[in-house]
Symmetry: C2
Subunit: 368 residues, 2 copies
């Protein structure tokens, strides 16, 4: 499978006018090798150039992994002294004759650590952004990938279902978050969960990117839970919002608006439609209800091996949806200083429309 | 507390000859702000320059965090369209008049994503490596930090103690790893654990950086467990090796050698001693026993908010140990294709010697 992926990459490099690409530990490297490398203080870089054996620079202690590659790679290993690193990178660049060439990079993944070493080995090279070229590889999920993502969604849903009866007034956000992680693992998530769950209540729920705190759940809070599971390298990323005890009327109202916006976004998703239209469909509902300024982020992002990848469901993204593209639909309303609501599902575009991999109730549930 | 830390940074920048430093989400930013920012596809950068209000570039949806800073920061927020990012970075660089200046970076943390945006805003600036200047901030732990690390060690130890009776022949490495993560959370680890535990048995245990697989525990395996907890931003990182059922004589022998090497490394650690001497003390034991070529990594690394930071316990590191420095001592012997052993403790240098924060039995225990 990963040999096919390597060939796909080679074809993409040619189309994208790149002589090579460099990858450090992250989703693209995992996609192309099937292997897990750690992102650490010792640089690991895979160089891929069409029609040549890929070259890997890595620390000696990682050498056992070289034989696990699904295709032959030429390895340049370095010892514990950082002064040896430069030399390994120079040899790698020379082996592929990369100096003066166009070497694609992933700016969101590649650190200065790796970049500066590669640049020292190929000082006259250009390093154009290869994000779009590489994103294309993973943008359309095949059936196996969708089945794996479906499983990651089911694990997440089962975990939350197990958590709901345990939610009580007086528990802290951190306690709930820990319990949710335990439920994710119990229900079959990989032990490296895709992200620490957001469990935020009351004023914290009005911050879309809150980290769990020691604040205790109080009656009248809205409770936002944004969580996901990992299964066989693919992830899920869902959000539901709960009412802790009695709810103010305005909160009932904004929850209903967000639920309608979520439904509108999901309904708009189908092949041939620009991403912007999905964003517009969800945003229209919130704007028409008078809460437009409280929906402060895009409607969604792509999902697969990463939580944040293409296609981005943003008002200015004219990219057309195609079968196999997978993304979140997650409108929200955030009343800063008071409470917030978000409802997030994971969709895959089909031949004729879109399938929501997630199907937990979206109606507000009272907990506590 | 974090205002003191900011002042400490300002002093370090002056000593290091830097006009500013840029920080993206990671341990240094957390140390200086007390806040958690996500490392994601939207760049977040804090610019710190002496005698000026720090400047923060961030997405609009993160704006609520600006008020949580323990000191005043000037924020430049951008919207969902990436074409706005450049402008926010330019304004940040202009506010601090950074163009043409020396702006320190952390190459192990900073991605090309952030770097290229900052560089576009300050095209004539230099970007020297500030790792050492910044490492100095966190290198000597104060009493509160050591107490927090002690707690992170205790959580990890309690979790492993709860796991040991559950280890049975036929369980997979992945199952054990998931169960260990659950125990870490149950015993009080933050839900964002510092790293996915390494649980590796049989031939996999001979790979120091193995990821858990579906391989089942078999009688005769050695089982390496390398795990840690997070508590209040600080982490622990321990390793113990177990025998699954009956053990070959050579495995008994190498376990004993590694245990002696671990003890020798710990005994050598005290103020005024170069890091290299701790490495040498541990390595000597293994070399004298004839297994030197099977100890393929350094003896340890610093520990605190990160798993891998200074001081590095490496044969060529002449840095002198000082009270408050914290690091791992983790010698190992890896018989590739067969089995491996590693025993890892977490030490803090005291006024007169070193304290091992970890104290679980290091003798081999039989499990299964």
């Amino acid at each position: 499978m990963t040999l096919t992926r390597l060939n796909k990459l080679t074809a993409s490099l040619r189309t994208g006018g790149l002589d090579a690409v460099i990858l450090n530990p992250g989703p693209t490297l995992k996609y192309l090798s099937g292997l897990n490398f750690h992102l650490m203080e010792r640089p690991v870089v895979l160089f891929v150039a069409p029609d040549q054996e890929p070259v890997l620079v890595l620390p000696e202690l990682e050498l056992p992994k070289v034989n696990l590659f699904p295709y032959k790679v030429q390895a340049f290993a370095y010892g514990e002294n950082p002064s040896e690193w430069e030399n390994a990178f120079r040899k790698a660049a020379q082996a592929l004759r990369l100096d003066g060439k166009r070497i694609g990079v992933e700016p969101r993944q590649l650190r200065l650590l790796e970049f500066r070493h590669v640049k020292a080995g190929a000082p006259e090279a250009d390093f154009p952004d290869a994000t779009d070229v590489l994103a294309g590889l993973r943008l359309r999920k095949d059936k196996t990938e969708v089945d794996t993502m479906r499983k990651a969604v089911r694990i997440a849903q089962s975990a939350l279902e197990a958590l709901i009866p345990q939610i009580k007034i007086g528990m802290t956000e951190k306690e709930l978050s820990s319990e949710l992680v335990m439920q994710l693992l119990k229900h079959g998530s990989e032990s490296e969960i895709p992200f620490a769950p957001i469990v935020s209540a009351g004023p914290n729920s009005a911050n879309p990117h809150a980290s769990p705190t020691d604040r205790k759940l109080q009656a009248g809070d809205l409770l936002v839970v944004d969580w996901g599971a990992a299964y066989d390298g693919y992830i899920s990323d869902l959000t539901r919002t709960f009412a802790v005890g009695e709810m103010e009327d305005e909160y009932k109202k904004i929850h209903k608006i967000v639920q309608e916006a979520n439904a509108a976004g999901r309904a708009a998703a189908k092949p041939g439609v620009p991403c912007a239209d999905v964003d517009r469909a969800a945003r229209d509902v919130i704007e028409k209800a008078g809460y437009g300024i409280y929906f402060t982020h895009r409607t969604g992002h792509g999902i697969g091996m990463e939580g944040h990848e293409g296609p981005y469901i943003r008002g200015d993204n004219l990219q057309l949806l195609e079968p196999g593209m997978a993304f979140t639909v997650e409108p929200g309303i955030y009343l800063i200083g008071r409470n917030g609501v978000r409802i997030e599902d994971n969709l895959v575009i089909t031949e004729s429309g879109a399938e929501s991999l997630s199907d937990m109730p979206r109606e507000i549930q009272v907990v506590g």
